[in-house]
């Protein structure tokens, strides 16, 4: 009798415990309007990612990405290295799993017709996104113009609102990036300073929450693979990609394609370039100017722990996945 009962209860328990937990919600990766992140968008639009595992969320600004990541609303975000370092400095447990692109011209200071050089900005209002890259660009801009911070008026404006900033007269110059840069130029603005003058200082990375990497490593690999698939699709068919994505960026196809001239998309292997050397200072060496600026502007308090921050394994796994290897 007892044997029967135990068997029955076991069967019942087995049936009930077979109720597995629901699959996790898609991993959300936040991207701001920066065109350098569009391979994620392209991968989504072209079905190059598994929507059940990865959701690419287009946000209005870096700040929105940062806030969402900080608040746990995002599991991953495409951010500039500087923003990532700031967040890490705040204590948000992040991991950099990929270098997405580097900017050499796509980040720019676009000014109205009256402003011809950085030096002309004395006493002028400069719109800038409240972000590390904004601070860095502003810092480099003022340095280029031989100006001090107190000689200009800095207005904080979200990236998505940069498009009309010059027309509205709220500012005479705006520290911005593609696609807003192209939109502003199309609107009559011109570049007085850009990231070409600060090579390798503006790097975009993919940051994921450390816990996500631990708990959803496979989804992170899928995310990285999605990037790579989107990047490759973009490079293989730039025109097709432009036709698909340009309207959303508010650019023409030509403008869209031109926007990419100011940046270099990175493959998954480029994570190695961030790998820390034997000593922390070696890593700082690569990004020394960035780290120094951030420290100087008090945007970070401590030097970054590169060893903790950089996690190359998922990118390697994603490369193996893409290569069809186990």
């Amino acid at each position: 009798m007892a044997r029967w009962l135990i068997l029955f209860v076991c069967l019942l328990a087995g049936a009930l415990t077979a109720c597995s937990p629901p699959p996790p919600a898609p991993m959300r990766v936040g991207v701001n309007p920066w065109v350098g992140y569009d391979p994620f968008v392209l991968a989504r639009e072209q079905g190059l990612l598994d929507p059940a595992r990865v959701r690419v969320v287009e946000l209005g600004s870096n700040n929105e990405s940062i806030r969402s990541l900080r608040n746990g609303v995002l599991e991953a975000a495409a951010l500039t290295l500087g923003e990532t370092l700031r967040l890490a400095d705040e204590g948000v447990m992040l991991k950099i799993v990929a270098v997405l692109d580097t900017s050499h011209g796509a980040d720019a200071v676009v000014a109205s017709a009256a402003i011809h050089s950085p030096a002309d900005l004395v006493g002028r209002r400069i719109a800038v996104e409240s972000s590390a890259v904004g601070a860095l660009m502003l810092s480099r801009l003022l340095a280029a113009g031989g100006l001090r911070f107190d000689q200009v008026e800095v207005v904080t404006v979200e990236a998505a609102q940069h498009e009309n900033i010059l027309d509205s007269g709220l500012a005479e110059a705006v520290v911005t990036f593609e696609p807003m840069r192209s939109r502003l130029i199309a609107g009559g603005g011109h570049v007085i300073f850009d990231s070409r003058q600060m090579p390798d200082e503006i790097i975009d990375v993919l940051a994921v929450r450390a816990s996500v990497l631990t708990e959803r490593g496979d989804d992170v690999i899928e995310l990285l693979a999605s990037w790579e698939r989107g990047r490759r699709a973009l490079e293989e068919d730039p025109a097709g990609a432009a036709a698909l994505l340009a309207p959303g960026a508010g650019l023409s196809i030509a403008e869209y394609l031109a926007a990419f001239e100011g940046l270099t998309l990175k493959g998954l292997g480029d994570i190695e370039t961030l790998q820390p050397g034997a000593a922390p200072s070696e890593a700082d060496g690569v990004h020394k100017a960035l780290v120094e600026t951030l420290l100087e502007r008090k945007l970070i308090r401590l030097r970054p722990d590169w060893k903790f921050l950089i996690e190359a394994a998922p990118a390697q796994d994603a490369q193996r996945l893409l290569a069809g290897r186990p």
Binding site: L5, P21, P22, A25, V41, E158, A160, G250
Partner: protein, 632 residues
């Protein structure tokens, strides 16, 4: 299909299992009810949270749209992708074109067109929502759908539409509450399991014992007992079964004893069917004494009627037919039966009938006893009786003949006695007369011795005379015809006493006569003779007493009357009682108490002739009492 299958499962497993299954079903129903309530709760939560979010986005989009900041508008809408519950979001313009979406490729396309890949129900709901004109944030959820559609007007031209997934939050909610469901279900099932275990322990384990015991009893092991502890119904049932088993065991023992006794007894028990030939249903083992094998008889090869003697068969068949119809239901028959070795034996068949509800006889039962020896004895007895009867007849004839001869001889003897007595009296009278003359005439010539001798002769003559008178009286008493009639006893006694008054007075005798007024059946003269003799006897033997006393009395006893005469005389020893009433027998010397020794013999003879009885009670020196027993 299921019922026979379930019937094969032992109840001790089925009931506890059913209990647990019931509990599981109850837990499942409870869980389903809770799940249903979750559905409503999730929808309600979603309406609230999405309503709040859309309320915010409505404002933001409206502002950015007013500023002409299309990129920002697109990014606000795209930012809704942060909400995992939002499957999709669109912002359409007045022409129904998508101006913002979670997917960039949909921008600029007609809303209806971008919905093409969506499931029909969702598409219909979204188109329905898009067609509505309301500024208020609203939600639609088709019946049973796992999604919800939210919509809100933005300004006068734009419309924000959301496809909201309810399945995931519901699943997550369910998953989150699984612990609660588990605990609830677990408690129900555990309770049921405990109850089942308790039932098993309290009921089915004991029932198992009972079943095994019943099976053992069914297999004939009647000494099996369940002996369940407790006072519940099961224990009571077990006690009843134990009692039943004990009774069965007793009965079986009795039956075995009876069977053994029957097998060894001369009685053969049988049961017949009420059908022609009376085939046998049951025959006791004892039929072996007739040489038959009971199996042979029960096999139907032989029917009972064929064993009955042909001369008896017709009678028996007719009698049985009558009994079957009219009763009585118990009867006896004697007839001859053939044994296995061909002998004929007489049997005494005691039969009883069992009838069904319709009065028809169902079975005929009987016990048969071989009475051949009795029959032979009866025959022998009958023969002996006949012979005896013949001998008796001869004897009686001889007795009558001898009696007649005796009668004649007796009569001759009586006649002779009478004649002798009578004839003796004449010479005796002569002797008396002549001796008297001799004494008178020649007395003086005789000397004294001569006169004394003559006086002795004369005394001897007188005594001889008395003796002859007594003998004559005795003889008369034997011969004379007595007339039995009512005689007044008291009157008779009074007359006799009156006749002896002088003698009584002379002797100074005290007579106490207490005879009541009683009547007896007797011959008056005979009775007078008897009483007179007794009185004389009493007077004689109490003469020397001081004073002499006689008590005379009588009393009734049933149909008799007891009469007595008691004196205070010399009495006698009771060891001589039988001699007192014999002829010529005397217990005292004639010199002391003169007499012939005939009186009491005469009394006895007279009483015999009158159908009465006389006896005496006495002891030496204590007087004597003579009793008469007379018919009333």
């Amino acid at each position: 299909m299921i019922v026979p299958l379930l019937a094969r499962v032992p109840l001790r497993h089925l009931l506890p299992l059913s209990l647990v299954v019931w509990a599981a079903v109850a837990a499942l129903i409870s869980a389903l009810a809770q799940m249903h309530s979750y559905d409503g709760a999730v929808e309600s939560d979603m309406r609230r949270s999405m309503g709040e979010r859309l309320n915010l986005e409505q404002q933001r989009i409206e502002v950015q749209h007013a500023l002409g900041n299309r990129l920002q508008v697109r990014r606000i809408v795209a930012g809704l992708g942060l909400l995992t519950e939002v499957s999709h979001a669109w912002l359409t313009d007045r022409d129904g074109r998508v101006i913002a979406s979670l997917r960039r490729a949909e921008l600029g396309k007609p809303f209806a067109a971008v919905l093409e890949p969506e499931p029909a129900a969702l598409r219909a709901a979204l188109l329905d929502a898009a067609s509505r004109d309301a500024r208020k944030v609203q939600f639609l959820r088709p019946e049973g759908a796992e999604f919800m559609v939210g919509h809100a007007a933005v300004g006068s031209e734009l419309r924000l539409l959301l496809s909201i997934d309810l399945e995931r939050p519901l699943v997550e909610r369910l998953y989150a509450s699984r612990g609660e469901l588990w605990i609830e279900g677990g408690v129900i099932i555990a309770f049921a399991a405990l109850l089942a275990a308790a039932l098993h322990r309290l009921w089915f384990r004991r029932m198992g014992r009972m079943t095994e015991a019943l099976r053992a009893i069914g297999n004939g092991r009647l000494d099996t007992r369940i002996a369940l502890e407790g006072r519940d119904e099961l224990a009571q049932l077990a006690a009843a079964i134990d009692q039943m088993a004990a009774q069965l065991q007793d009965r079986q023992t009795n039956l075995q004893q009876l069977s053994t006794i029957l097998a060894r007894s001369p009685v053969i028990a049988m049961e017949w069917e009420n059908s022609p030939g009376w085939p046998m249903n049951f025959v006791s083992e004892s039929v072996g004494q007739w040489g038959y094998d009971r199996r042979e008889l029960l096999s139907g090869e032989l029917d009972f009627a064929s064993l009955i003697h042909p001369e008896d068969k017709a009678r028996i068949v007719a009698e049985v037919a009558a009994y079957l119809v009219d009763g009585p239901d118990e009867y006896r028959q004697e007839y001859r039966l053939r044994t296995a070795d061909g002998r004929w034996i007489w049997v005494d068949d005691r039969t009883w009938l069992a009838r069904g509800g319709d009065g028809r006889v169902t079975t005929i039962s009987g016990v048969l006893l071989d009475i051949s020896p009795q029959k032979q004895t009866e025959d022998a007895l009958q023969a002996s009786e006949d012979a005896l009867r013949r001998i008796n007849a001869g004897l009686e004839a001889r007795v009558a003949e001898r009696t007649a001869q005796l009668q004649v001889l007796n009569e001759e003897l009586e006649s002779f006695s009478y004649s002798v007595s009578h004839d003796l009296k004449a010479p005796l009278r002569g002797i008396d007369g002549y001796s008297q003359i001799l004494l008178d005439d020649y007395g003086s010539a005789l000397d004294d011795e001569g006169r004394t001798l003559i006086a002795n002769v004369r005394r001897g003559v007188a005594q001889m005379h008395v003796l002859i008178e007594d003998l004559l009286a005795y003889s008369r008493m034997e011969r004379q015809v007595l007339e039995s009639r009512a005689v007044e006893l008291a009157g008779l006694v009074d007359n006799l006493l009156a006749g002896r008054a002088r003698e009584i007075a002379a002797a100074g005798m005290v007579v106490h006569n207490s005879v009541p007024a009683l009547s007896v059946q007797a011959d008056r003269d005979g009775l007078a003779l008897v009483v007179r003799n007794l009185l004389e006897n009493a007077l004689k033997f109490s003469r020397n007493s001081k004073p002499p006393r006689i008590d005379i009395g009588a009393r009734e006893e049933a149909d008799k009357v007891l009469f007595w005469v008691r004196d205070n005389g010399v009495g006698f020893d009771m060891k001589y009682h039988h001699r007192v009433f014999e002829m010529f027998q005397r217990l005292h010397r004639a010199e002391d108490y003169p007499g012939t020794g005939v009186g009491l013999a005469l009394v006895r003879k007279a009483m015999q002739r009158m159908g009465g009885r006389v006896w005496a009670e006495s002891s030496p020196g204590q007087g004597a009492c003579f009793f008469l027993e007379l018919r009333k």
